[in-house]
Symmetry: D3
Subunit: 335 residues, 6 copies
């Protein structure tokens, strides 16, 4: 049986949840990865109010959709970030932002992440997808010099802030799937290694593998699946296109907005970029990943109503199952 394909609702949170369900269902998606913002899912209510949960599940059922994971990138981001500034205010609810005092914001965000684990449990979902934030991302240029001790302190800060959250995840029997992503504590291969060490490889903490962030950093998304095969808890399909090679577009994006062709890379609709999708899906078969493939649709140069169904069709065609028998079995002789 083919793997379920879901749509992440994060980029559609301006639409009412039911409209989102209607669209996704109409295009043929098997389910949703529901974002904990807009009116799509309030983790506090879902953690505390059974009728709220039931209403959500009923709505999904009405549209023939499943939910395998919920996502709370925006609040997770605030747990470790430093500085906390206007950018965070723009994406946090007033409940979390409060008076904007950085440490208060971080602690309220951490509380919401615990609530999100409880919400997941109540929804019958065993994975929460999200970001961790990072207090050391700001050192990425390594100038002014950041010492090894400053970097180490960042990983400790992450562990200190997330271990209590993960304790709640363990209580709920839910896992957290961090999306490896610039601006997070783990943003590439070796930072993922260091992050896993910082948290003692505890099972509650795994990865949401999204290859779009790999290709422009020159990382191999396929080998990454192999190396972290016991920590791949969720898969987000976003694509990215390298646009370097003319000598003027740089890897770091030049502070230019999405869809500006002078950026050195950009997010594009799944199948329009440089991710080697088929090799990725084959590796997911090999490592025995059994969860959904969720399309996180982001392309500032294309209409999402055009892109989302096209992306589904693209993924369905390539995310085929492995066969039962090896092809050279047919050569065997048993006369």
């Amino acid at each position: 049986m083919a793997r379920p394909i879901t749509l992440f609702t994060g980029q559609w949170a301006d639409l009412p949840f039911e409209e989102m369900c209607k669209l996704a269902s109409g295009w043929g998606y098997d389910g949703l990865e529901i974002a904990c913002w807009g009116d799509h899912l309030d983790p506090w209510q879902a953690a505390e109010d059974d009728s709220y949960v039931k209403a959500k599940l009923d709505l999904l059922e009405k549209y023939g959709l499943k939910v395998y994971a919920i996502s709370n990138h925006l609040k997770g981001q605030a747990v470790c970030d430093d500085p906390i500034d206007q950018r965070h205010k723009d994406i946090l609810s007033s409940r979390i932002w409060g008076d904007g005092d950085p440490e208060g914001v971080r602690q309220r965000a951490a509380e919401e992440m615990k609530m999100t684990a409880r919400a997941a449990k109540n929804l019958g979902v065993d994975v929460v997808v999200g970001f961790t934030g990072s207090s050391i991302w700001k050192y990425v240029a390594m100038f002014p010099p950041a010492t090894a001790e400053m970097v180490a302190a960042g990983y400790r800060d992450f562990a200190d802030r997330w271990n209590p959250i993960l304790d709640v995840f363990d209580e709920c029997g839910v896992k957290f799937a961090h999306e490896v992503h610039p601006s997070e504590i783990a943003y590439d291969y070796w930072t993922t290694v260091a992050t896993m060490e910082a948290i003692g490889h505890r099972e509650a903490f795994g990865l949401n593998w999204d290859p779009s962030h790999f290709v422009w950093q020159d990382l191999d998304p396929v080998g990454f699946l192999w190396d972290f095969k016991d920590r791949i808890y969720h898969v987000d399909c976003k694509d990215a296109k390298r646009q370097v090679g003319n000598g003027r577009n740089g890897r770091l994006g030049s502070h230019l907005p999405w869809a500006d062709p002078r950026r050195g890379w950009d997010f594009v609709s799944t199948g329009h970029g440089d991710v080697p999708w088929e090799q990725c899906f084959r590796m997911l078969n090999t490592i025995g990943y059994t969860g959904p493939i969720s399309i996180e649709w982001e392309d500032a140069g294309m209409d999402r109503l055009l892109g989302a169904p096209e992306a589904l069709e693209f993924v369905r065609r390539l995310a085929f199952d492995a066969p039962e028998a090896a092809f050279d079995a047919a050569f065997s002789t048993s006369d």
Copy 2:
């Protein structure tokens, strides 16, 4: 006559200035690009005390060295940076750091940059090399989302803080050469374009071209010289090696220290990296750059006493002058 080759003293500021002079002279350098830190050059004294200036110049003369430019990267960095934190404290003098209040640090740093222009004038030097800092570098990952207006505000902040400094440069007949570098307002091609626009292309503000930052960002250092040919005020030779290609080392460096082979790129001794030096030097001939080539020696995996003379030899061999006549002139007939 061959172009002078100088040594930047920034990475040697732990040595007394005279020892630096002795070493550079012994290796055969033509001069120094003197750093405004350690005991190499105090811009306040140089701006205000003629005897201090004379002593420096006498010392240079004793060792047969010239000075074509002085550098003040560390204080320039603090003019626009945000946040201002421990990293800045580690590289600033107590005179600039003071009580560490960010806005105070920025303003004191700006004052020192004005002093540096005056120091340059007194030394008979017409170029100050340095950094600008940036209030928007922290947005480089573009998540949490930074709006176009936030980015525009960063360029305006740069202009507001540097225009008064550049007024002093104009008074002194000295030019500022900004090193295009991650963590600065201009860190690649298109940010350099935007920076020049922000400051109205005023002549006092130009560039210190250092190709090491270009190669790992996939930028073409040769074409950059052509496009900004009227603003190339100084040349720093640092080299960088891309170490991606194994699927695990990433472009962003993984917060790993210099010389760790898991970084996706690293600074290396001039001639050991990916900069197309000969093409660069040929382009410098073409655009009519007449200043020095200054070796900024940085390689955390090599002993600097081994590297500095080797780099000089490397550059001397490739930075040859253009010839007088075209080679096909010999085909002409005048029988």
Copy 3:
């Protein structure tokens, strides 16, 4: 609303114009870029005879087709070319070829280009697509040596011959879109820069951007659109495939005919080659190009009746409009 897609009739001029209309309409094209040869369009008649124009427009209307541009590559080629030889005779009408005296041919061709501007005006079309020819293309190998003065004379010859033609274009309110192409005055990036300078950047003279000629010369068709964004007057979609890489096929084509796989590159049906179409169409959106995309179908290894509808489908799928809002708008909070 989606951008109109037209078919250039130049490679179909052996068919009667009405048959061409029928075919294009049947395949679903939105319009035609009409060639001024065969019976497709006689610019002299169209310039002087209103009934001729009306008949053409009626025919287009009958087939539901629009016309946004007309093309006269073959006569434009003769305006500057040197030598004028059998190849020109083969593609020129006897009216232009006359007795074949080179200077006479050039002048009659220039007259026809003026007529073509008038024909465009009468047809309600504001762009004429074409070639310029070049008196210096023959120097491309630079051996026997061509002096800088010889090259400069070629650009002057171009300006001298085309300025009077462009005066007529200005009178008619029509623009000329030169196709950057080997054998023309502007055949790559830097020759386009020089050509624009030669003609004082006058607005009547712009470009027909056809990326097929870029990819085998190692030019970036996307960056070209950005750099000449105010002079992109028309877009022709032709594709080309590089066939080098076996050590024997050379970039210059070895005088081999089209469709010979030993050529180092070849024209192929749109979507079968190396043009990065999607990136190109996205850039056209970015620079605000509002004209048609015209498919110039050339593939000597494929049947045109198979290729023309396939190319239309290919372009329709990728030449999508830009969306209204940025995708990260959905992250905003307004609780």
Copy 4:
């Protein structure tokens, strides 16, 4: 008229022949390349029993299928191989394996190849596809050192064993098409040159061109067609994907099974790999190859029932015929 597309039955020999016919016919294949194993074709019976032949042909006709070639890779392999071991036993019938004495196995295999020529003749087919085996493949690593004389002896052994077989082919008016493939006497370009020389370029011996073995060896399958154009007797379409580039997957495959993503390359469904199919098909048009294109479907990571019809559709779209006239004929003038 379009070129026939057939399906090679070798990887389907576990299915009864009629079921194979039914499947292939249902998917739209034009014919079969019938394997001489399983119950698909017994060359001994086909050589000696007319009713057996008639029954096969009737069955094909019932399903609207043609046969252009038959294949006997497994027995051909045993003709020259050394050592002969368990791997051979697993793929040979007991008639050929007998007591397993190596020389006996080789001679019985050679007899079967003669029978296969006769079978082909009786079926009205003029090409037998297969392998030759090789006594020197085991020297491929060149350590322990293999002398030039040892290698030369291998080519002589091949000629000695195959010339008598080819004599029978000549008698039957049938040609043998060897598949260039690792583990065979000819496995790349220069070994094919040497093989042809060993056999005196006799016409009975030609090639079954299968590009899947070329791409991972860095060979150009297109140029190969040109260079051996008079010896291309059959075409098998198998695809292969290079999976190197992460520094850990090696060209030699690491003894890993098919479909393991750690292999440096793998066979994949036609159109999913690195073969430049369109360029290949265009070259087949150019060299005047008039035979079938046979899909040899092998992909251990995909279900064959999904892959075989998809591969057919892929090939049909790209294996188009060459056109009648050159496109620039339309530029000619005959007013």
Copy 5:
């Protein structure tokens, strides 16, 4: 202090040992990696006769040479190989070859490997370099099909044959350094992983890292050092040049002799090939490898008397030590 550079005597065993010493000493080598063939070193005598050992050590001392490792590739090769044939006879002494019965050859070779451990101990050397041989190398093409069980049996055969040898190594306090190399049990990355597993990662068994075999297999020799950093017991510097890229030269070498430019790769003098030497040496510094760098000189297209001293000079220039302090220490302020 700089790392010692030694010369491997295997390719010079036609010369008397003393002449070898004289040459190496004259060129400036620090020592020898002595081959156990020719008259260079007889492991049986060295294991059993103290005066033989003393004579060797005296000779080395006379020429100012050290020995850090001895090598016995040729006998190690025979321990697991299958088939055993003329190639083995050509490189084995008659003591080991005996009557040529394969199993007898393997066992006598195993005995010599034990003796080599004892010889090493007596010479005061703690590393023996060599090959293992492999019973499954012959399956490298995977056709005729080799089952997973056949492959697994090969690793078990290796463990069964080498564990008793390694027991003797443990007794002697000597380690075995296997050279990862085609035709051996471990010939690339994943076979090295499997080999280590087969032998339970026992400490007696480690690696002789020779990057020449990596580059043509598309393996990253630098990352390999990191991943196996606790098992790098010796370093051999051989270089290899990829000669593919013309579409005709293949990765597998076409059975062509060394120095034939039609081979897809070849061994070349250190520094003339594709090994990224400087990156390798930097990684050796990083992982703390403290042993010698031994030049294994092989280049069939160059005179060894020219090449050996040139290679030494090349390696000396690049195999520099890591420095004491980081370069950015000079930025620190302590005013």
Copy 6:
């Protein structure tokens, strides 16, 4: 004994011949490839005047120089060229240019080529290096369309004009070595194939292999040596650097002068470009080329007095002889 290295005097013909001898001798060159222009060599005098020849040879002997080949590119160019124009006038003597009538120029140039054969014979030299010119080079862009017949006529014109010249070469026992070069009848791989066919592969006509023209056309200079191994009569070492890759510099050079960094490629001093010199020299050893290696020094961005000795040192280091014995001979056992 090492291969002789000579200097081509063509780019030095503005200097008196004796000064040229002095320079070349001083730098250590073994001989000269003497150009038939300037005062270096007058082929008419050398053909007819023994004392002139003796004086030249005496001068060479005085400076310890040999001559292996003489060159007459400039006159050879005029034999087939069309059009003949100012560029030819600039490089031809008045004896050949005469009244400038194209056909007369061609015939007088042909006469001089015959004289050059006679001059070579008198000098004791058996190779004349040069160009052929081409009447079809002007068709290189293939637009306006050039028919296959027009191209064929060009090869016939070449054969018609050169066969009588080659008859004289045969009489003199001298060979003509054509330099494959854009603007000539043979300018790449396939045009060389066609050229050889046009002239019936007659032995008098061979090649002067100069790899600088290969690299920017993406041709493999090493494979070319193999394929034309029986027609490599002379070797000229010129180097070229590709300067494409920034999206703006094009393969065709943009009519820009030499040394302009915006050109897509340029001639550079031997060893500063993209020619794989060592692989080339190894192939020359393999094919048994026994002639000189002649440095044709062209680099418009470097002083020739600096470049010529540097190029000699570069070539001497890499153009080493092949060794006597294979390296693995040392593995053999003969105990």
